[in-house]
């Protein structure tokens, strides 16, 4: 790792001020993504501002209308928290489908949201990559793109967002609470947090430099009874998703009142399929209706040279996730 200046923030204000003051400064939380990228020489911060002392940001607490999860809560703490397990089992499942026991003990909620959208070429400093070096080209577009996007990509970047937690947060309409350089707080609905690549693939999300994520908030919802997170990967554990599905249903009698279908591993951001959701609302929870929703979800998919399999895999995964959501009764 290259040398850098290190500071341990003792308050939110200090953390924000230190990072805002230096364009090449970065916050450090669990370190599982940032240190990895620094070792590969992909990220080269000159100043690290360590957040780990801000222990008040690790709290998970009930709010009047749901739950507030501090940005420094670890993935393990969130997944195992009784309130999360009971009221937001989809979130718990999604987190446990990600990474490994060791990494979930280190990784934090804020860091998890901020983990880089990536592809093997992004990590390979010998290859061009518009995300790593804007204007250098996209090696994946005509290279090996089996793992890459089938939705929402541009000719500048076809990488996929690798996170699991955020797919569940999208399905549950989370809000990200942020503290800005001027000391003011603002919120970003999770659907507006991550970005599609367009002409600026170097920007994964809409957080400004120096802005600190302080919490993620979830409102009460009717999805706790019927939800499921299905992650399809090359091996049974400890691998990124080829396709992931965060599925949630709320029923009224035997009809679907509300539906959420968010796909992971298919785009530069978690990909919410309103097409699938619209196909489900008002219908009965039958396999035929799930199939119709899966067809609707994949209708606009534009596979690349090596990932056409994701279209069929995605359809089957959506049907299975919805079926499991109906089987799960918590």
């Amino acid at each position: 790792m290259r040398p850098f200046k290190y500071a341990r923030a003792t308050s939110e204000a200090e953390a924000v001020q230190l990072v805002s003051a230096t364009p090449t400064a970065k916050f450090l939380a669990g370190g599982t993504n940032l240190l990895d990228l620094m070792k590969e020489d992909v990220e080269r911060p000159t100043q690290i501002v360590d957040l780990t002392r801000l222990s008040h940001l690790a709290q998970i607490r009930p709010t009047l209308n749901g739950i507030s999860i501090g940005a420094l809560a670890t993935n393990a703490q969130v997944a195992n928290h009784p309130l999360v397990r009971q009221n937001y089992p989809l979130l718990s499942r999604a987190i446990l489908a990600g990474a490994s026991a060791q990494i979930r003990n280190m990784a934090t909620v804020g860091g998890n949201l901020m983990q880089r959208t990536r592809c093997p070429y992004f990590y390979d400093t010998a290859m061009p990559c518009n995300k790593r070096e804007p204007g250098s080209g996209c090696a994946a577009f005509h290279g090996l793109n089996r793992m890459h996007a089938i939705f929402g990509y541009s000719d500048k970047c076809i990488a996929t967002y690798p996170g699991d937690m955020a797919n569940a947060l999208y399905a549950l309409d989370a809000t990200v609470k942020i503290r800005g350089a001027n000391g003011q707080e603002r919120t970003i609905p999770i659907r507006d947090f991550h970005r599609l690549p367009g002409d600026t693939p170097e920007q994964d999300n809409n957080l400004q430099h120096g802005e600190l994520i302080v919490a993620v908030e979830l409102a009460k919802n009717d999805f706790a009874k019927h939800s499921y997170y299905l992650k399809v990967r090359d091996r049974a554990s400890y691998a990124f998703a080829l396709v992931a599905v965060a599925a949630a249903l709320a029923l009224e009698g035997d009809r679907i009142k509300q539906a959420r279908v968010v796909l992971g591993g298919v785009a530069h951001k978690p990909w919410r399929s309103t097409e699938a959701e619209d196909a489900l609302v008002g219908k009965e929870a039958t396999e035929a209706n799930f199939r119709a929703a899966a067809e609707a979800a994949m209708k606009e998919a534009k596979p690349l040279a090596h990932n056409a399999y994701k279209v069929e895999l995605g359809k089957r995964a959506i049907v299975l996730a919805l079926q499991r959501a109906m089987d799960e009764t918590i």
Partner: protein, 160 residues
Amino acid sequence: MRCELITIKVNGEERTLAVAPNRTLLNLLREDLNLTGTKQGCDDGDCGACTVLVDGRPVLACIKLAAQCDGCEVTTIEGLAREGRLDRVQEAFWHEGGMQCGFCTPGMIMSSYALLQRNPHPTEAEIRQAISNNLCRCTGYTKIVAAVKRAATFAEFTQR
């Protein structure tokens, strides 16, 4: 680069050390404290050879800055044996032959030890899940899983 002064408890012994910010907990353990039981495999979060316990929980020492560990309690493979007696997990790996070259073994044992601390009677699926971030190139895992099962049947003679 200015060094950070940190105080950490390693295997029960408190130490105050000066560390450069770009050094990892793994560098500190192996190079400054000569605790070479913890292995450096990939050095990038993939293989689990560097697994140690920080405040009782298994983490990867190669992607944690030493400076971040100020005030923490660290347990490495060297910290498991008590008064010349192996811990039950070490004992079980020895009984079952749960190792060949041994490179993955310290990390494998730390992950298994942490699993048994929080879940004394794990299922095979839970064992495989707990060690899924510990890669072994030799054994094929069968004897490792058998060793963790056996450890679960031993009395916890080195419980802290």
